[in-house]
Amino acid sequence: MGSEESLISEEAKAAIGKETKRYLGEVSLQDLQRYAVTVGETNPLYFDEEYARKTPYKGIIAPPNMLSAIICWGAGPVEEELNPDGTEKREERFPLKVKRVMGGGQDLEFIRPVRPGDRLTVTTKLKDIYQREGRTGPLVFTVTENLFTNQRDEPVLRCTQTVILR
């Protein structure tokens, strides 16, 4: 296989710049505290309302990187709709000739705190898709911008995410 072969379909290239908006769901106190416990957070900002009220955040908030760490909101797909490796068949949105997916990193801008009971919507825009030669073969990088807004239409988090596919 020639290393110059493009793994990026024309359909995928055509998806660059397109915006989609979808409702995600509500963040509960239980969700955010389970997230904090799992990470190993000990900051009372996530657990102690009285403490949190005295901070500049004025109440319990979700750990800052929680929203953009959630892979799937709501009920999610039934098992038959997942790939054999358990990932969602998301690439159908912009078909790529790749098999494996991994997180490449995120740039997060925290605009407003997210509180228990907030109902979130995300506006997603594919910013770029490009191919690079990796140590073990070609890699495809997708760069996506996700703007999360709350039930008052206020932006809370801007996340620019890189995903690596191979």
């Binding site: 909101w73 490796d85 490449g104």
Partner: protein
């Protein structure tokens, strides 16, 4: 205000953050997958991970990011505010690894009345190899 609060005046270029040591376990990875509704087998199915050439299940990219987030928020609490945080996943990690998150101040300035501090942050493994480099911007209280 608790004595531990770090103020804008306390830091300079090169000031180091207290390190945050994490030893991720298979239980932690399972619970992180569960709480983020992430069904990717590479994080909980060792046979699957080995079939892809890895020695064990992999620490989630976002969990590396969560460790760096905690490094910064532990340092600035209770009065500091996290404005920005970014990271790149460069090297994988598995249960049994010791991941140490570190950081240092690269710049401080006052803008629009806010006392802004920019940080270089990174997470390295027990061999001193950087798994995840990153940056963060915080606002600290001023005396």
């Amino acid at each position: 205000m608790p004595a531990k609060q770090v103020f804008f005046e306390d830091v300079n270029e090169g000031t180091e953050l207290p390190s945050l040591v994490k030893k991720p376990t298979a239980i932690q990875l399972f619970r992180y997958s569960a709480v983020t509704w992430n069904a990717h087998r590479i994080h909980y199915d060792k046979d699957w991970a080995q079939s892809e050439g890895y020695p064990h299940v992999l620490v989630q990219a976002h969990l590396h990011g969560a460790f760096l987030t905690q490094l910064v928020t532990d340092w600035i609490e209770p009065e500091g505010i996290l404005k920005k945080l970014g990271w790149s996943n460069r090297r994988y990690a598995v249960p049994g690894d010791t991941l140490t998150s570190k950081g240092k101040v690269v710049k401080k300035y006052v803008r629009n009345g806010e006392h802004v501090v920019e940080l270089e942050i990174w997470e390295e493994n027990q061999n001193g190899e950087v798994c995840v480099p990153g940056t963060a911007t915080v606002v600290l209280p001023s005396r």
